[in-house]
C-alpha cells in the first residue's frame, strides 16, 4: 500500500530552493537588515555610528523595540492584537515609581506588584476578547485609553505631578532592580579596556575606564525573550497551539486545542513584555512618567509585520520580529547619526510598513496556493 504511486493530478510538485526560501517568514526582514546596514555603512560610517558607543546606542534602542515586538509577535500569530501596550508601559512604570518612591515599599515589591497588575490586565484583555467575541482591536483600544487615563490620574492625584523621580536611588542595591537596570560583564569590559582592546576614557574622572562599561540588562532581557519565544513557538506543543489558534480558531478547537487559554496567555505575555520594557526604562531614566510608551503598540506591530507575520494571524516568526526591531532601531538612530531630519523616520516607517504588508500578502498566496 505504501508504494502506491501518486496519481498525476495530485503529484508532488517540485519546489525550487528559491521558492522554499521565499516562503520563510523571515526572508523580508533578513533582506531589509542587510539593506539597512549597507545603506548606513555607506552614508554614516564616519559619524561614529559604528564605533563602540554608536553600536551600543542603536543596539539599546533595537533591544527596546525587540522586547515589545516579541510579545506582539506571539499574540499576532495567535490571531490577536494588543493596542494597549504603550499605555501598559506608562501604567507599569508609574506603579513602580509610586510604590517605591511615593509609598516607600522596597523596589522588589514595587516591581513584582507592577508585573502582577500587568498580568491581570493582560488576562482581562484576553478574557474580554474571548467572552465578547469582539475584535481584540476594539477591546484593547478601550484599554489604550483606560490605562493611559488611569496612569495620569494616579500620578496627578497622589503626587501632583506626571513625572515621578527618585527611582534610581530607591533601586540602589535592590536585587530585582538590578535585574532590570544593571549591567553585566562589567569585569570583562574593564579588563578589555585595560588591555586596550576597547575604547576607554582618556581624560576626566573616569579616565582609563571603558567607554562601554558592560552590557545593559535591557539587552539581556531582549535576547532572553527572543530565544524563549522562538523556542516556545517552534519547538513546543504550546507553540503549535499558538499557530493553530491564529490560523483557524474553530479548526483548532475541533482538534482539541484550548484556544481560549492560548489566547489569554498570549495577552498576558504581551503585558509581561510591556512591563519588562517599562521596568528597564524606569531604572534607566530613574523616573517614571505618565506619558511614557506613547505609540509603542504600533511600533511593536510594525516590527512584527516587517518580520513577516501576517496581520490575520497563524503565520510569523520571532526571529523575523527581532530583525524588524533591529531595522527599526538602526534606522531611527542611523538617521540621527547621518544628520537627517528625524521626521523622515516616520515617512520611512509608513513606507516600509506598506511594503512589508504587500510582500507578506504575496507570500501568503504562495504558501496557501490561493489566488
Amino acid at each position: 500500500m505504501s508504494e502506491t504511486a501518486t496519481p498525476d493530478d495530485e503529484r508532488v510538485r517540485e519546489m525550487s530552493t528559491f521558492r522554499r526560501w521565499l516562503i520563510r517568514p523571515e526572508l523580508g526582514s533578513i533582506c531589509g537588515t542587510i539593506l539597512v546596514f549597507m545603506f548606513f555603512i555607506s552614508v554614516a560610517s564616519d559619524s561614529g555610528m559604528f564605533s563602540g558607543r554608536g553600536v551600543m546606542n542603536w543596539t539599546v534602542v533595537s533591544a527596546q523595540f525587540a522586547i515589545i515586538a516579541v510579545g506582539a509577535c506571539l499574540l499576532m500569530i495567535a490571531g490577536e492584537f494588543d493596542l494597549s501596550v504603550g499605555s501598559m508601559i506608562g501604567f507599569s512604570g508609574v506603579i513602580i515609581a509610586l510604590m517605591s518612591v511615593t509609598w516607600g515599599y522596597p523596589m522588589w515589591i514595587a516591581i513584582i506588584t507592577a508585573f502582577v497588575v500587568a498580568l491581570a490586565i493582560g488576562w482581562l484583555n484576553g478574557y474580554l476578547v474571548i467572552k465578547t467575541g469582539l475584535p481584540s482591536f476594539i477591546v484593547t483600544l478601550a484599554f489604550l485609553y483606560i490605562l493611559r487615563g488611569l496612569t495620569i490620574f494616579l500620578s496627578i492625584s497622589t503626587t501632583n505631578k506626571t513625572i515621578i523621580g527618585g527611582v534610581r536611588e530607591k533601586a540602589e542595591g535592590d536585587w530585582l532592580g538590578n535585574l532590570f537596570g544593571g549591567k553585566i560583564f562589567k569585569g570583562l569590559f574593564t579588563w578589555m579596556g585595560e588591555n586596550g582592546w576597547i575604547e576607554t576614557f582618556e581624560r576626566g574622572n573616569r579616565a582609563g575606564q571603558p567607554v562601554i562599561e558592560g552590557i545593559p540588562m535591557l539587552i539581556v532581557w531582549a535576547i532572553v525573550l527572543i530565544v524563549f519565544a522562538h523556542v516556545l513557538l517552534t519547538r513546543t506543543r504550546f507553540g503549535n497551539w499558538i499557530y493553530a489558534a491564529g490560523g483557524d480558531a474553530q479548526a483548532a478547537r475541533y482538534s482539541g486545542v484550548p484556544v481560549n487559554r492560548v489566547k489569554i496567555l498570549m495577552f498576558m505575555f504581551t503585558a509581561f513584555c510591556a512591563t519588562v520594557f517599562a521596568t528597564c526604562q524606569v531604572m534607566e531614566f530613574g523616573s517614571a512618567a505618565a506619558d511614557r510608551g506613547l505609540l509603542k503598540e504600533f511600533e511593536a506591530i510594525i516590527s512584527v509585520v516587517i518580520g513577516g507575520a501576517l496581520l490575520t494571524g497563524g503565520y510569523g516568526s520571532v526571529v523575523g520580529a527581532a530583525l524588524g526591531a533591529l531595522i527599526f532601531g538602526v534606522v531611527q538612530q542611523g538617521l540621527f547619526f547621518a544628520n537627517v531630519e528625524s521626521s523622515l523616520f516616520r515617512v520611512f516607517l509608513g513606507g516600509i510598513l506598506l511594503l512589508a504588508v504587500i510582500l507578506n500578502t504575496y507570500i501568503r498566496r504562495l504558501i496557501t496556493g490561493e489566488r
Partner: protein, 265 residues
Amino acid sequence: MDSTDPNATPIVELRNIEKHFGSVIALAGVTVSVYPGECHCLLGDNGAGKSTFIKTMSGVHAPTSGEILVDGKPTRFANARSAIETGIATVYQDLAMIPLMSVTRNFWMGREPLRGTWPFRFFDVEKAGEITMQEMARMGINLREPSQAVGTLSGGERQTVAIARAVYFGARVLILDEPTSALGVRQTSNVLATIDRVRKSGIGVVFITHNVRHAMAVGDRFTVLNRGKTLGTASRGEVDVNELQDMMAGGQDMADLEGSLGGTV
C-alpha cells in the same frame, strides 16, 4: 459481514434522536447504528439534517431527546472531547485543517508528541514529521517534505490528511461529512478508495453525502434523511440508485423531474 449479524453490537447506536434549535426542528427522530468494518452512508438533500445528526454523534450537540449507545451501553457526551475519547472521530466539512500550517503541524495538532522532561519538554518535530510522511504514504500521498503547508495540497489530499490523522489516533468510528462534495472526479475516487481502505481495517465509517453514486460505490448500509426524518436503513443490494434518489427527494417528485430531464439526474 458484521453489519448483518444480528448478534453483533454496534460500536455506536443512536436511537430516535431529536434535535431542536429553538423553533427549528432539525432532527425529528433519527435512528442510526454503526458496526465495525462497515461503511454506513447517510444520504440527504441540503438542509436535511445530516450535519446536525453527526454533530450529535460526535458530541458537539446534545440531543433534545433520544438515546446514544456506545458498545451497547447508554452514554452521554459532555462535549466533542469525550466523544473523541471513546473513539468517535469526525472529519468535518470544513476539515479542521489550517492551510498556513505544515502537514505535520496539522496532523499532530492538539496531540503533539513530546520529548524530554519538563521544563525542557519539546515538540518532537523529527518524529512527528517521520510518522506523518509514513502515514500519508500509507494513504497513497507522497509528501514533498513534512513541513509542506496544507495550503499547497489539493482538496482530496487535504481530506486524506484529515482521515489519516483520525485513523492514526485510534478512531473506532470515523465520521466523514460530505468529503467528496467539493472534489473533482479523480480526487473523489481517491477519497472513496481511502474510505474503503479504512473500512477494511475494521473501523466503522459514517459517510455523509448527497451523491447517491458516491454512496453506492462504498456503502454497506444506507440511511436516507429527509427534512429531519428517516425512512429507515437499507442494506447493500436491497436498494438501487433510483430508489435512494427518490427517498432523498421525498418519495415523489424525483420520478417526474427525472422524466423531464431525460434520466440525467
